[in-house]
């Protein structure tokens, strides 16, 4: 997905001289194509994330469009106040690219695990948040955010399996997508967990449950029409995300449910990362399973709720 981002950015920069790429010393073996093609618009600012954000904000005031790049935790949490004051409050045209969203850096341990980035940045005025589901969609989303005027945070997660698009429509900022239409149960997901959601839907079919599957690759502003429509037409809504269940997609859906006409008839079950997890390192698959983000666990839970 990182390579899809760089490929798209190179194509954009070829036509748009305003594009800059600034990294805080990360992206080795990924960002080189941009650096080679546009050396004057590439800057390695060093291990200095506060500088990364604020320099980009200043640069944007002269009409440039800086993309800043780092690991999701470092890009959003170390310079949180810089994002708030210099990007969000100024409505600066800066795109923050956070790689390794969720548990992608699984063995690196909790300093590299990004389960609260979406929750934090959702509080920021003017901030658009994008969480693509695949390589194809990362490519499309990069192009879409480059023409959006204002701050964007794009979270790039672990490459999904399969890596290419599971989505059937072209990426459009702010639009959710109903990938599968079912009844009674709906799975809502974001980022690369779409592939998990689809495999769960196949498994549920064997148990007589045909769920709807909705993907929200833009988290902010989210497609509230699709959420409300789905809440009003299903009895169980399941959220699946590689982010803490507090503050992410599940929370957004719960907030919507609270004001929904169907609030007494529909329930929301949230699957995501547990921020108090004791297991802090391991392979990606092991950690996913530990946090309950596995097909077997979620299918079992849904069936049990459906029977209840």
């Amino acid at each position: 997905m990182r390579h899809a981002f760089v490929k798209a950015l190179c194509e954009i920069a070829q036509k748009d001289e305003r594009i800059f790429l600034i990294t805080a010393d990360l992206g080795f073996n990924v960002l080189e194509p941009f650096r080679e093609k546009f050396p004057k618009r590439f800057l390695n600012i060093g291990v200095a994330e506060a500088n990364l954000i604020t320099v980009a904000a200043g640069l944007s005031t002269t009409g440039h469009v800086p993309f800043v790049y780092s690991i999701a935790t470092f890009a959003t949490m170390r310079p949180f106040e810089q994002i708030r004051c210099d990007i969000s409050l100024h409505n600066a045209n800066v795109k923050i690219i956070g790689i390794g969203g969720g548990l992608a850096y699984s063995k690196a341990g909790p300093t590299h695990h990004s389960f609260d980035d979406i929750a934090l940045l959702r509080t920021m005025k003017n901030m658009v948040i994008v969480d693509p589901c695949s390589q194809n969609q990362t490519y499309e989303a990069t192009k879409a955010i480059s023409i959006h005027k204002g701050p964007v945070y794009m979270r790039i997660e672990h490459d999904p399996d399969p890596p290419h698009s599971l989505s059937t429509q072209k990426f459009r900022l702010g639009e959710g997508e109903e990938i599968k239409k079912g009844k009674s149960v709906a799975i809502m997901t974001t980022g690369t967990k779409l592939s998990l959601a689809i495999s769960i839907s196949h498994a549920l079919k064997r148990h007589g449950i045909i769920p709807s599957v909705c993907q929200f690759s833009t988290i902010n502003p989210i497609d509230t029409d699709l959420i409300k429509k789905t809440l009003n037409s299903h009895r169980t809504v399941v959220s699946i995300e590689e982010h803490s269940v507090e503050g992410g997609l599940g929370s957004i859906i719960s907030d919507q449910l609270a004001t929904s006409d169907n609030s007494h008839k529909c329930r929301v079950i949230k699957f995501g990362l547990n921020s108090t997890s004791k297991l802090t390192t391991g392979s990606y698959d092991v950690l996913m399973k530990y946090h309950g983000l596995s097909k077997e666990f979620i299918v079992k839970q849904i069936i049990s709720h459906a029977k209840g």
Partner: protein, 269 residues
């Protein structure tokens, strides 16, 4: 010109006191330590006017120590960039000018208030202007000595010389005070000059209240491509006995008597 600047500086200082008194706010000491510098910048150095306010080729000024906004607003008013009505909305209950600069105000280039942001932001602007080949456009940023306690200042200070940003000039308001007392006793920054030199900056030290010295320092230009920092030795609350070089200058809200006495002192300065 020098006499004019001196009179203008006096007017800036008095206006700063007037609006702060009316708004019942402090930070007068911090504002008066930079009023001479801002006067010279806006009336003798910077390419900025009502006409050029939206031109990408204009010079930029960033007040990183945003708590001295009263001085900035006074200069913007006297320069004709904001109206008298807007100036006197400073600190009002009806949502006028904030106690710290806010980007929606004409002539304000950056919302500041949280310390340590202005230098990196100015680097971004200088980099953008350089990339656009606007070789005459310059960026001036004023930070305080106490603000140099922020790590982000030093992240930025490391970067500007590497980028050869000769279009960037930093002015340090070295009034030697921070909230809890003298900077030397809290975050000892000495020797400030050699710190900046070691980071690759051209350093000029001046008396920040001597108009001629400020004019000369702002003309400093080196051919080595490095940015320049002017360390301006100033007095917090300069010209007002009750707050000059005193910690209370950071906080004091003047009574009517104190205000009139302070105003008279500034008039006779």
């Amino acid at each position: 010109m020098k006499a004019d600047l001196k009179n203008l500086a006096k007017e800036v200082a008095i206006t700063t006191l007037d609006i702060s008194y009316k708004a019942r706010v402090g930070h007068v000491g911090s504002s008066l330590s930079i009023s001479d510098i801002l006067t010279v910048l806006y009336f003798s150095k910077m390419n900025i006017s009502k006409k050029s306010i939206n031109s990408n080729r204009r010079d930029r000024f960033i007040l990183s120590k945003g708590h001295a906004a009263a001085a900035l607003y006074s200069v913007l008013y006297l320069k004709g960039l904001i109206s008298k009505k807007l100036l006197y909305s400073f600190g009002s209950n009806e949502g006028g000018l904030c106690e710290h600069p806010e980007i929606s105000t004409p002539g304000v280039e950056m919302s500041t208030g949280s310390l340590g942001h202005g230098l990196a932001f100015s680097i971004g602007i200088a980099l953008g202007l350089k990339s656009l080949r606007f070789i005459k456009s310059r960026v001036f940023v004023l930070i305080s000595d106490g603000e140099c306690g922020e790590g982000s200042i030093w992240e930025a200070a490391l970067l500007a010389p590497l980028l050869r940003l000769s279009n960037l000039m930093v002015i340090i308001d070295d009034n030697r005070w921070q909230c809890f007392g003298p900077t030397q006793k809290i975050t000892n920054l000495s020797p400030l000059s050699s710190k900046w030199k070691s980071f690759g900056w051209n350093v000029v030290e001046i008396d920040g209240h001597n108009i001629q010295s400020i004019v000369a320092a702002l003309k400093s230009h080196t051919s080595d491509g490095n940015p320049t920092v002017i360390i301006a030795h100033t007095k917090a609350g300069r010209g007002v006995t009750s707050i000059e070089n005193k910690q209370i200058g950071h906080y004091k809200v003047f009574s009517e008597d104190e205000y009139h006495r302070a105003r008279l002192e500034l008039l006779n300065l």
